[in-house]
Amino acid sequence: MKPQGEQSDEQLLLSAGRDEESLGAFYVRYEHRVIAFFMRAVGRGDLAADLTAETFASLVESAERYDPALGKADGWLFGIARNVLARSRERGRVEDRARRSIGLGVLALDDEAIERIEATAGSADAVLALGSLPEDQRDAVIERVVNERGYEEIASELECSPSVVRKRVSRGLAAMRNRIKEMP
């Protein structure tokens, strides 16, 4: 078996419900993006943290049903996130069914942690602007700015030269700035 670091998201997700190392690796890869997704939706760090917890709890429950033939792992994860958000809105409180079901306790969350979430995940506008970028620029910006990876490393993964990655990041950030200015 490959080390977790080399496994694809899909491989990790397949075993995330029964193998804590796979779950941990998957969690680390996606935590920032999921929090950013919820920050965009609700604009508050504490809510985003709770929604994130519910989403991953639901993922632990449902990972056994995941079938890579039906779609990529991030699609599955964000499908859950969208459902968690919709149900929480309908219920008027953050959904907690999955957390109860798998026995998750109270999440340790102080003001500092909330500030860190809000600062790192960026403002809702920035995430909205990020979402509007073409796929190549968006991936480059996420990997470089959000995931703090080096240009060389990203280039190797995206199968292009580091200068191309730099160009995509730079163009992406410029487009985001313009987009934020245009927002109502």
């Binding site: 419900g17 029964r18 193998d19 804590e20 779950l23 941990g24 969690y27 680390v28 935590e31 920032h32 929090i35 609700v42 508050r44 809510l47 943290a49 709770d50 994130t52 917890a53 991953f56 709890a57 632990v60 449902s62 049903r65 039906l70 779609g71 990529k72 991030d74 699609g75 599955w76 964000f78 499908g79 919709a86 809105r89 309908e90 008027g92 409180r93 953050v94 907690d96 069914r97 957390r99 109860r100 079901s101 798998i102 026995g103 998750l104 306790g105 109270v106 999440l107 340790a108 969350l109 942690a113 979430i117 790192t120 995940a121 979402g131 509007s132 073409p134 995931n147 927002m183 109502p184």
Partner: protein, 585 residues
């Protein structure tokens, strides 16, 4: 990269370790049991434990059966148990519900039946109380040794917390016909034909939506006959019907195909009555392991007292035994037995049977928990914001008389969408009927923020410390939240809807699927003027071309949940020119 929520990662890892340990021990998972107890408060969910795969269609009731039914209808029509609810009074219903779930437990296949008692108080203004307590230990069907071991373990296990909530803003009487206000209950049909129409329409719609929303759910495999029988049970038991409405409900059963009359039946509580039944159905048990997951034959029964027309129970009885777990033929694997109902003057009173009559008696003390729920959506006056009216022709056309009626009345259940706090009267538009038969409305309103949603005060157990923080911060957030109008499309019936969108978010395409993530997904898009059709591009080059009608596109796509959102959407003019390309986020 440092995790932002290291505590969450630690807890998730622990949960996975626990799950693996439980699975390897091959015993019932405690959290699952607890979840089952929580959800089993709704009879509909309990029904999910078993399913019907196919209905045996036979002849209608014979003449003598029809006469027996007519006697029950006449008795109901004479006014027995016919309450009139006035302000300050509550319609009280107590029922006992049981469902059977399959398990792979203690090294072999087994079945567990848990039982809950539910009491519901409901007033004309929508306020009420709901209380559900577990009724003893669950029954375990297996070998004597396994049963003894299960009982020992279960006796030591923490007991489920009873659900007991005051509901000051409950939206109305829950029934198979939807959530109804008291005036809507009073307006229900009092002729068999109209009642049949209402029940059949609701049953068909319910099945369609279930199959769309949760195609893997066993409930979605129910037959129409079974859903109709359940609907009749729900209507007779849960709603304060007039004698005429009760009589009409009995008389309409003559018109149901495949429903037979059984003169002598005993319900799960040992009470005798007559039954309307549908044979030839088969069940499978959720989470069943091995042989128990195979369907078993059952009969859906609606048991009533033929002399009074009072409904006693709805149940599903085995037509043949399951020897491996010692269940005999005739055993009710799922049932809701209606114990008592009547009008009381407070939520600390209940109605109990004493001899042949029913008397008022004290109920459990009022709960400390108040679940306020979201405040009702309000219809408000005001012009449609020009940013929306200028871009959507459907909002510029005059309202039809039907739309004006909706706008000038009280808000309907449909338009009271949970996400909206306010809806502009002037914006209500009925869209052209969808081919699947579901009607859609477009409305402009204002989103309900998390902050102005209802609170649950004193309800236990609290979920997280951060949720408590949420409640404290709610008012502060509400004050600073920007209020922007949003454009929404809501389905006339059922849960399918397009999330409300701000004008700046128009490049989003919405889609709705079930939790099960199975196709089809319903894809919806609100499209501004000038676009006559859209082309949606999916993975592997598959494209879908959909015409825009009333500024709306809506279609079903047979792709699983994550991929149901198109990779790219092109807005096309009538001459085929691409007005805009939107790539997936």
């Amino acid at each position: 990269m440092t995790p932002l929520l290291p505590d969450l990662e630690r807890q998730l890892r622990q949960a996975v370790r626990d799950r693996r340990a439980e699975q390897s021990a091959q015993r019932p998972a405690r959290p699952k049991r607890r979840a089952m107890a929580l959800v089993a408060v709704a009879a509909a969910i309990a029904i999910a434990a078993v399913i019907a795969l196919a209905a045996g269609i036979g002849a209608g009731p014979s003449l003598s059966e029809a006469q027996a039914l007519e006697r029950a209808a006449e008795a109901a029509g004479r006014g027995l148990a016919a309450p009139t609810l006035t302000p300050g009074e509550y319609w009280y219903v107590r029922s006992v519900t049981a469902g059977t779930t399959g398990y792979r437990a203690l090294g072999s296949a087994a079945l567990i039946q848990s039982r809950q008692t539910t009491e519901i108080w409901q007033s004309t203004d929508g306020s009420g109380r709901e209380r559900t307590v577990n009724d003893g230990l669950p029954l375990f069907f297996g070998t004597p040794v396994a049963r003894a071991r299960f009982r020992r373990e279960e006796a030591r296990a923490p007991k489920p917390v009873p659900v007991d909530e005051l509901l000051p803003h409950s939206t109305g009487f829950r029934s198979p016909l939807g959530i109804l206000t008291y005036s809507q209950v009073q307006a229900l049909p009092s002729t068999p034909e109209a009642m049949l129409h209402a029940i059949r329409h609701a049953a068909e719609h319910s099945l369609t939506e279930l199959r769309l929303q949760a195609p893997e759910s066993p409930v979605a495999e129910e037959s129409l006959a079974q859903t109709e029988l359940e609907s009749i049970a729900g209507i007779l038991a849960d709603l304060p019907l007039s004698p005429q409405q009760r009589a009409a409900t009995f008389r309409m059963t003559e018109k149901l195909p495949g429903v037979i009359y059984i003169p002598h039946v005993t319900d799960a509580l040992g009470r005798s009555g007559a039954a309307l039944a549908s044979n030839g159905l088969s069940y499978r048990f959720i989470d069943g392991g091995g042989e128990l997951s195979k369907p078993v034959s059952v009969r859906e029964e609606l048991i009533f007292d033929p002399s009074t027309g009072v409904l006693l129970a709805q149940q599903r009885a085995l037509l043949s035994s399951i020897p491996s777990v010692g269940l005999p033929a005739g055993y009710a694997v799922q049932y809701t037995a209606y114990v008592s109902s009547g009008v009381v003057t407070s939520t600390t009173e209940r109605f109990v049977k004493r001899g042949l009559t029913e008397v008022v008696a004290p109920a459990a003390p009022a709960p400390t928990c108040t679940n306020e729920g979201p405040p009702p959506t309000q219809l408000v006056a005001g012009a449609i914001p020009s940013t929306l009216a200028s871009r959507f022709a459907v909002l510029r056309r005059p309202q039809t008389s039907e739309e004006l009626n909706l706008a000038n009345g009280s808000i309907s259940q449909t338009l009271a969408t949970p996400g909206l706090g306010r809806v502009l009267r002037s914006s209500i538009r009925i869209l052209k009927t969808h081919p699947a038969g579901v009607r859609y409305y477009m409305v402009v309103g204002y989103r309900r923020s998390f902050a102005d949603l209802g609170r649950s005060a004193g309800c236990s157990p609290p979920v997280t410390a951060s949720e408590h923080r949420l409640e404290l911060a709610a008012q502060k957030a509400a004050r600073r939240a920007a209020v922007r109008p949003v454009l929404c499309v809501v389905a006339a019936e059922g849960p399918v809807s397009f999330p409300c969108t701000e004008p700046s978010e128009l490049d989003m395409i919405g889609y709705e699927t079930s939790d099960y993530g199975r196709p089809p997904a319903v894809v919806t898009g609100i499209i501004p003027d000038g676009v006559t059709k859209i082309e949606a591009v999916y993975p592997h080059g598959r494209t879908v071309l959909v015409p825009v009608t009333d500024n709306l596109v809506i279609y079903r796509v047979h792709l699983p949940a994550p991929n149901a959102a198109p990779k790219e959407v092109r807005w096309l003019r009538s001459n085929g020119e691409v007005l805009r390309r939107i790539t997936s986020r």
